[in-house]
């Protein structure tokens, strides 16, 4: 297994330990130090002697202390834990003792080292891949997708008729509603809606049936809206129309019910 001379290991370990001491900042934590030390054993990580590794680490910490190098708490915690592990591994197992055995703990440490080593190698393989912007390239001249907004205008026949009627009555015709107060009765709404319903075709917002002169003034608009709504319900009750509303507060739409003689 260890084909090198014992003295060689010592030399190697010493050199490694010295390198550590000079450059302790270069390590990424105690696990990194352990991984470094484990290389001196020159064996597969799966066959590593955790006991020997623990001893190497503890001597590394001792040396660092001798040289009065300040070590981060992590390193000392690891040292304490390895000292504990070492005692577990050396002493016969106490049947009273709870918790994992020394072998289990050592196996886990070996696993951690192997896993870290594997991640290092994977990282190196990843970084060795061809990379975008270095080895292969994306399109230099890109064409953005331009968003074209197209507005489509619509109108209904009823809009057209109301528009035309508005023009024809502008000068000399005052809508009869203008002479009354701000009340538009349900009877008036019914009388207005009955003939118009046939022209609207499909679903139409009931608000489009509000009479001329009742759409701007809030009081008039309220009255007309209420009576138009009541009239719509009446028409539905009579079986002449259908109502629908897509959502709460969405426009209420009406259309003539097909197949019924108005």
């Amino acid at each position: 297994m260890a084909e090198t001379e014992p003295s060689m290991i010592d030399v190697g370990a010493r050199l490694a330990a010295e390198a550590l001491i000079v450059d302790v900042d270069g390590f990424e934590g105690p696990l990194d130090v352990l991984l470094m030390l484990s290389r001196t054993q020159k064996v597969d990580l799966r066959q590593i002697s955790v006991l020997a590794l623990a001893e190497q680490y503890l001597s590394f910490i001792d040396k660092a202390r001798d040289l009065r190098i300040e070590l981060a708490a992590d390193y000392l915690v690891m040292a304490a834990w390895l000292a504990f592990l070492k005692s577990r591994l050396l002493l016969p197992p106490d049947p009273e003792e709870e918790g994992p055995s020394g072998e289990e703990l050592a196996a886990h440490l070996a696993f951690q080292l192997e896993r870290l080593q594997a991640m290092r190698e994977a990282a190196a393989q990843l970084m060795a891949r061809d990379q975008l912007g270095r080895d292969f390239f994306a399109r230099g001249i890109t064409e953005d997708v331009t968003r074209v907004r197209r507005v489509s205008y619509t109108a209904t026949l009823l809009d057209l008729m109301q528009g035309y009627a508005r023009l024809r009555t502008k000068d000399d015709f005052r809508p009869f509603v203008m002479d009354r107060d701000a009340v538009f009765t349900m009877e008036e709404a019914l009388a207005r809606m009955r003939p118009l319903l046939g022209f609207a075709g499909g679903w139409t917002d009931i608000l489009s049936y509000l009479p001329e002169g009742f759409t701007t003034d809030p009081a008039r608009r309220r009255s007309a809206t209420a009576s138009t709504f009541a009239a719509s319900l009446e028409l539905v009750k009579e079986g002449h129309a259908e109502l629908r509303q897509g959502d709460t507060f969405a426009p209420i739409q009406i259309r003539r019910k097909e197949g019924r003689d108005g």
Binding site: G140, S152, Y153, T154, A155, M161, G163, L167, R168
Partner: protein
């Protein structure tokens, strides 16, 4: 990645890479460059002895009829989307809006009084008709130019289109509800407005004559 790649080691110092390889190089450079690249720049970037001009001829041919084209832009060469596929670079969103009151009224006048001139529309509306309103209706293809009026200045007229009839579910402009029906529908007062006859059916022409001869 590409099996056709020649080993760099196989190239002697003065042998240019095979033409197929040069074509690949030009293709990659044109693709990745942020600006069109001149033949001179291509030559500067390609191995010694390469002939980018010839490679461009081959590459251009290869892209003939493809979704992108190798085109000359000023002194340089670039890869661009084929002209007929420009529409793929646009995303259209359609927004439905109600036609403005001015447009509805103008449209109604044209529908009821066609063929009608702009001056006549303004006469009926009592306000001038903006160019934009007419343009909008023309754009929507709901109105089109009719024949010119045989009056002084020979003004153009407007008439409604098939598209208009389709949209409003009418067989012909004659199916528009006449004044009688508007009145029955409660949209017009019962007493006929003085001077205006029923703007429907055969009366229509007369109406217009009446209306506009006086005006």
């Amino acid at each position: 990645m590409a099996e056709t790649t020649t080993e760099p080691g196989e190239e002697s110092l003065f042998d240019a890479p095979p033409m197929g390889e040069q074509e690949r190089m030009v293709e990659a450079i044109l693709f990745a460059s942020a600006e069109p690249v001149s033949v001179r720049d291509l030559a500067g970037r390609m191995p010694h002895g390469a002939d980018p001009a010839e490679a461009l001829v081959h590459l251009r041919k290869r892209y003939e009829g493809r979704g992108v084209q190798v085109v000359k832009v000023g002194d340089g060469w670039a890869i661009r989307t084929a002209a007929d596929l420009g529409f793929l670079m646009q995303k259209e969103t359609v927004e439905t809006r109600k036609l403005s009151r001015a447009a509805i009224e103008t449209l109604a006048i044209i529908a009821y009084h066609q063929p009608v001139t702009r001056a006549e529309i303004e006469e009926i509306r009592g306000v001038s008709v903006s160019r934009g309103t007419i343009d909008q209706l023309l754009d929507m293809e709901w109105i089109r130019f009719g024949r010119r009026k045989m009056t002084p200045g020979r003004p153009v007229t407007f008439v409604v289109t098939e598209g208009f009839l389709d949209h409003f579910g009418l067989e012909s402009a004659r199916d528009l509800p006449g004044l009688k029906e508007l009145r029955a529908a409660g949209l017009l007062d019962n007493r006929p407005p003085p001077g205006l006859g029923a703007a429907s059916d055969e009366d229509e022409d007369d109406d217009q004559d009446d209306m506009f001869e006086d005006g």
